[in-house]
């Protein structure tokens, strides 16, 4: 099963762009990369998912290089409310059942 590695914590300031990079060296051909956000005392919330190149939605952008061994979540102009834990996940077909492998996540602190 593919595993992910991402920084434990990051600090930023309001209005800055934040890029969180995740490595997944043994990603398989049919794996997708998915990012979730979790606020304290809440369940995780789906942010974005991609397979290759670039994906953008109203919340974030996801950049995936050609070798797919890493990916970068980009949050434009963060605000205090973006302070949360961000999880990079690779979903893999284990025995014909898709399974998300959750790591420790990146704790992002946005300062005023």
């Amino acid at each position: 099963l593919a595993k992910t590695t991402q920084p434990i914590s990051m600090d930023s300031y309001e209005g800055q762009e934040v890029n969180i990079t995740c490595s997944h060296n043994n990603i398989a051909t049919n794996d997708y990369i998915t990012w979730y956000q979790q606020f304290p005392s809440q369940g995780p919330r789906f942010i974005i998912q991609g397979y290759k190149t670039k994906v953008t939605n109203e919340v974030a952008s996801l950049f995936i290089p050609a070798d797919r061994k890493s990916s970068t979540l980009s949050l434009p102009r963060v605000s205090l409310s973006d302070t949360a834990v961000y999880y990079c996940l690779v979903a893999t077909n284990a025995g014909n059942n898709r399974k998300l492998i959750w790591g420790l996540g990146t704790s992002l602190a946005v300062n005023p």
């Binding site: 005392s41 789906f46 998912q49 059942n97 959750w102």
Partner: protein
């Protein structure tokens, strides 16, 4: 659209006692998941249901944990007897077929403290 509902939100018990958690997924979501999240860690999948059938329970400690989803809608997770290391947040999530792959909707969780 109502989100995933869980109850209770908080529960405090003593070790060796029993406890049950309830989850009502989003209407129409056939897939239901129970996760355990220990403080400072990511969620750990305990069990996955597709309608009322178990798809994956490989990480469920079956000697003390059990879960059911009898009518393919709401679900209960039980711990009997509880141990100190079961203190965690128990998250329920659901997924609707046809959504983008791996889009799971999570409930607020039940925070369990075992004394």
């Amino acid at each position: 659209e109502a989100g995933v509902a869980q109850s209770p939100r908080y529960k405090i018990i003593e070790k060796r006692q029993s406890v049950a958690f309830w989850c009502n997924p989003i209407s129409g979501h056939a897939t239901l998941y129970w996760y355990q999240q220990i403080l400072g860690q990511g969620p750990k999948l305990l069990i996955q249901f597709q309608n009322n059938g178990v798809v994956d329970d490989s990480q469920l400690p079956k000697d003390r944990f059990s879960a059911e989803r009898l009518k393919g809608v709401d679900s209960t997770l039980k711990i009997q007897p509880a141990k100190l290391e079961d203190s965690a947040v128990y998250l329920c999530a659901s997924r609707k077929p046809g959504l983008a792959k791996d889009t799971q909707y999570f409930g607020p969780g039940t925070r369990l403290t075992v004394l």
